[in-house]
């Protein structure tokens, strides 16, 4: 769909965050163009996850402005952010362990429901029809990520790699405009990574979803992303196209430096 990098979908402006005085992020600004894959990289503790948490409204920054889709966004809670079309996955899988894969994916679509809980409880009105449409949409996501064999499996029982994929499916089910992936390939072996990055690219290309991801595997990052932002100690030390960033001396030192 849209590969025109003209419009900025997400703009961060001097964001700062600290826990009990400890600075996690010091005024970071960067912007993500609509339809691109943007990677946040940096050594552990560089503040990547915190940044993602701010974008998805889990944390509230002490200072700075966030513009999403050209609209100012101040003091927004996770729920409102989701309503605006942002979905995410978590660094250590945050699936609903007590539910089946299908139910997890369906839950990802909860914002798409129109019928009230009473209609659903009494099975009247649009509830039934809506169940069908929701199910079909969920099934399309399941198909897209090749999860059919595990549709009814209990997510708690699935191997790690699959759980990651289910979590991606849950996020994707919300039909987000911006998809935040916190280390989607952490702890995966080579071919799992290969598969996952293939999925991410497909999502970006086929569905035109803008993706912001955190990843440690530089190879993968350089491979799939259009735009890389490098963090170190909560500051931004690099921002640009992969091969540009690769040349950046600060980045090199941060990576080849002793702490990694």
């Amino acid at each position: 769909m849209t590969r025109t990098a003209a419009t900025q979908l997400l703009e961060l402006d001097n964001i700062s965050l600290s826990f009990k005085g400890v600075k996690a992020i010091t005024d970071i600004s960067f912007s993500v163009a609509a339809g691109e894959i943007c990677a946040l990289i940096g050594p552990n503790g560089a503040g990547k996850s915190s940044l993602l948490n701010i974008i998805s409204g889990v944390y509230q920054p002490q200072r700075g402005r966030i513009r999403f889709d050209n609209r100012e966004r101040r003091g927004m809670r996770a729920h409102d952010v989701a309503v605006r079309g942002v979905a995410r996955t978590f660094q250590n899988i945050a699936l609903f362990k007590g539910m089946s894969v299908l139910d997890n994916v369906l839950t990802g679509r909860n914002l798409k429901r129109r019928s009230s809980w009473i209609e659903q409880a009494l099975r009247i009105g649009r509830a039934g029809r809506e169940d069908d449409s929701q199910r079909e949409a969920a099934e399309r996501v399941i198909e897209f990520l090749h999860l059919q064999p595990w549709r009814d499996a209990w997510v708690g029982t699935l191997p790690y790699g699959l759980q990651k994929r289910v979590e991606l499916a849950r996020a994707l089910a919300a039909e987000p405009r911006l998809l935040l992936l916190d280390e989607p390939m952490a702890g995966m072996n080579a071919e799992e990574k290969q598969l996952m990055s293939r999925f991410i690219v497909d999502i970006n290309r086929e569905l035109g979803t803008t993706v912001v991801l955190i990843e440690h595997d530089i190879g993968v990052v350089m491979d799939i992303s259009d735009h890389v932002v490098v963090l170190d100690y909560g500051r931004k030390i690099g921002d640009g196209a992969p091969d540009v960033v690769r040349q950046n001396p600060e980045v090199i030192s941060a990576y080849l430096g002793t702490r990694h």
């Binding site: 199910r135 399941i142 897209f144 059919q148 064999p149 293939r198 290309r205 086929e206």
Partner: protein
């Protein structure tokens, strides 16, 4: 439509017939998006005609060949029937076969009309440096961006087209319906099956197995063999039963159990896979439950024992395999290993073999010479004239 009086001597004619007489009956089911999606005979025929009109518009004419590289899907069937409707032939390639060999074959055949399932299959075409006139894909995953296939057509949008005008198939009994290729010892070999031959074998099967409209047939593995066409497709069109496709290979066992097919046309591998599937899932040897199972499955035993075994083990086991309704378990091609045969016998499933009637020949004109001629596009047609 006066065509009803016409003799039913090709597959498309049978399709036409079924659509006219039993239009609302179920023709195909495909486990897709979590449920078994249904196509009636009328819908099927309609889809065939739409695709046919597209093919025709793009120059597919009598005697042409549509190369189909796809796992068994309704679309693949539709495509084959559409090609045949226009008096052409369908050439089936199973994506599960070795890539290298297939690339080589494709390279030599230089097909003009191709239906490929998805990215994988299309990239094989690319590897074979084939530049077909028409390429149709089913699944556009990962295609956009890859420049090579810009002109490839999306099946889903194609069948929006209006149906073909002439409602009567252009096919004739003696025309080739299916053609299969393999690399023989010296040159590539081909197997061409005419409508007449298919229908004749199909008829025999239908009569001897007493197949009726209520049959539920499961097509799990590819049609990459002529025997599948003989013993599954032709009977399906003749008897007008239902052809069912599992969601994908990973789910086929669950799907088979849900469906409970009454007709299975499997190869040796199909049945031996099932046998080992059971063996690895039975209770561990020495386990009490296992002893009961073995006791019940023992070959020769008294009536009481057979009765108990039947209800405690054999019946449930058949059900778990999805075979509780089976009455035509067919084996096409090579015979089973004795132990596998014995296993199914004890379950009361008598697997019947239909010896493959395939005869392979080396085409009179070798392609190797013409392949790199400037007019290689002509190769296939030229070669067809030589053989028919």
């Amino acid at each position: 439509m006066g065509t009803l009086t016409e003799t039913l001597d090709t597959l498309p004619h049978w399709l036409h017939q079924q659509a006219l007489e039993h239009g609302t009956d179920v023709a195909l089911r495909h486990k897709h998006l979590g449920v078994w999606q249904v196509r009636t005979w009328r819908q099927l025929a309609d889809e065939v005609l739409r695709l046919a009109s597209v093919l025709q518009a793009r120059g597919f004419s009598v005697g042409a060949t549509l190369t189909i590289i796809s796992r068994p899907t309704p679309q693949a069937i539709v495509a084959a029937l559409a090609a045949q409707w226009l008096g052409g032939a369908a050439s089936l390639f199973d994506p599960l076969d070795g890539v290298a060999g297939q690339v080589e074959l494709l390279g030599e055949l230089q097909p003009d009309f191709v239906l490929a399932e998805g990215y994988e299959e299309l990239s094989r075409l690319g590897a074979a440096q084939v530049a077909p006139r028409v390429v149709i894909y089913l699944d556009k995953r990962g295609l956009s961006g890859s420049v090579a296939f810009d002109q490839a057509l999306d099946y889903a949008t194609l069948i929006e087209a209006k149906a073909l005008d002439e409602r009567v198939p252009l096919a004739h009994a003696q025309q080739t319906a299916f053609v299969f290729y393999r690399r023989g010892p010296q040159a590539i070999e081909q197997q061409r099956i005419s409508h007449a031959e298919l229908l004749q074998h199909g008829q025999q099967l239908v009569q001897r197995e007493g197949l009726r409209r209520q049959e539920e047939a499961l097509a799990a593995r590819g049609f990459a063999s002529g025997d599948q066409a003989r013993y599954l497709l032709a009977p399906w069109l003749i008897a007008g039963f239902r052809l069912n496709f599992p969601e994908n290979l990973a789910t086929r066992d669950r799907d088979r159990r849900e469906l409970g097919p009454t007709l299975v046309a499997g190869t040796r591998e199909t049945y031996e896979r099932l046998h080992s599937y059971v063996l690895e899932r039975l209770p561990a040897p020495g386990d009490g439950a296992r002893r009961l199972v073995d006791w019940a499955l023992a070959a020769r035993s008294g009536p009481l024992r057979r009765f108990i075994g039947q209800w405690l083990v054999r019946r449930p086991l058949r059900d778990v395999l999805g075979f509780s309704r089976i009455h035509a378990p067919l084996l096409v091609g090579d015979a089973l290993k004795p132990e596998t045969q014995a296993f199914f016998d004890t379950l009361g499933i008598n697997v019947r073999q239909w010896e493959g009637a395939a005869h392979w020949e080396v085409p009179t004109i070798s392609l190797a010479s013409t392949t790199h001629e400037p007019d290689e596009r002509q190769s296939q047609r030229a070669w067809k004239e030589a053989t028919t």
